[in-house]
């Protein structure tokens, strides 16, 4: 015997909503509080920090801006995908959802490149107390060749440092300073959300799309819910980008 759960497709007369939509909005409300806690932590740690770096000290602003544009574009392709289903154009849905997936993967790829760059970047404290930051080009037991960050149009030549000159050498990981700890925590959690969105969209683009043949309205609802989550992830990034890259 099968029992059909009511209001999976039809709207409830009292709320005017089908189940999944209300469920998705409640979930997004909980997500607001999850990220809200992290934003509050950011505000506290930044306010009490004796000094705070500019995002541009650690980030590539043009790359971050491009990545933000990629995510914004993926939001409109998501809308177009859902709208195509509403208009009964399944082929267009597959095209737009495919584009959304590609843009999502591109965003994650650029983010991975940024992360890799951080783990090739070091802050080197010399024996005289001077701190030099830059990419390590090569290193062995006796010396480190560092390409220092260009500052104010200064010469950008590799520096060869003897190990005996180096007091401390730390990679730009989350342990480097509070800014990077927050950067990795916030962007890491965001990337996990985006990855989840990509997986759901991939399912809806691929095997999950068979539902369109049997229950087109329910499938359209599923895509709408996936879209709400996708837009929320985009919305979170809209705040993360300025606080981590621009301010």
């Amino acid at each position: 015997m099968t029992v059909e759960i009511p209001y999976g497709v039809q709207e409830r007369p009292d709320t005017g909503l089908w189940n999944a939509k209300l469920g998705m909005w409640l979930f997004l409300a909980s997500e607001v509080m999850l990220f809200g806690g992290l934003f509050a932590s950011y505000a506290t740690l930044r306010t009490y920090a004796p000094d705070w770096p500019k995002g541009s000290d650690f980030q590539n602003i043009p790359l971050g801006t491009f990545n933000t544009a990629v995510l914004i574009t993926s939001s409109i392709t998501m809308v177009m995908g859902w709208a195509s289903l509403v208009m009964g154009q399944f082929g267009k849905f597959r095209l737009y959802m495919g584009l959304t997936l590609l843009l999502g993967v591109l965003f994650l790829g650029i983010k991975a490149t940024e992360y890799r760059g951080k783990f090739e970047h070091y802050g080197v404290t010399l024996a005289d107390g001077t701190v030099v930051t830059g990419h390590v080009e090569s290193q062995d037991a006796s010396r480190v060749v560092l390409l220092p960050d260009a500052k104010g149009g200064a010469a950008h030549e590799p520096m060869t440092l003897a190990r005996s000159q180096i007091k401390r050498m730390i990679v730009f990981g989350p342990w480097y300073n509070t800014y990077l700890a927050l950067y990795f925590t916030l962007t890491g959690l965001h990337a996990l959300h985006l990855l989840a969105g990509v997986l759901v969209n991939l399912y809806l683009w691929g095997p999950g799309s068979r539902m369109w043949q049997r229950e087109p309205e329910r499938f359209t609802h599923r895509v709408e819910c996936a879209g709400l989550f996708w837009h929320f992830v985009d919305l979170v990034w809209i705040f993360l980008f300025p606080i981590l890259y621009l301010l």
Binding site: A29, I72, L247
Partner: protein, 115 residues
Amino acid sequence: MNHPTPIETPPREPGRDAAFQKNLRASIQVFIALLALLVANVAVSYAGLGRSQHIAVALLISTLQAVLAAGVLMHLKSEKRIIRVVLVFTGVFFAGLMVLTMGSFANEVTASHVH
């Protein structure tokens, strides 16, 4: 994988179709606005504002982007009342969280409090 065959569009009321097309056009306008505001936010970061002014302007631009994205792309402006009620509650709790956080800045433990 077999591609599902497109099915016929269910019959729709003409007025509803027009509203749908209007919403779709609004979504595209919002997309352009979001990109323009992104450029504005980056431009402001090079404008040489003071740190507090810069924070205020950047967050204002981001909030405007969020309102546009939520209102149009997530259809919040035409969403049912219960969802708006849920979000008002969420907003109140979020605001409370931030006010408590900010309030803690005004209540620093200083050396004179430590016995």
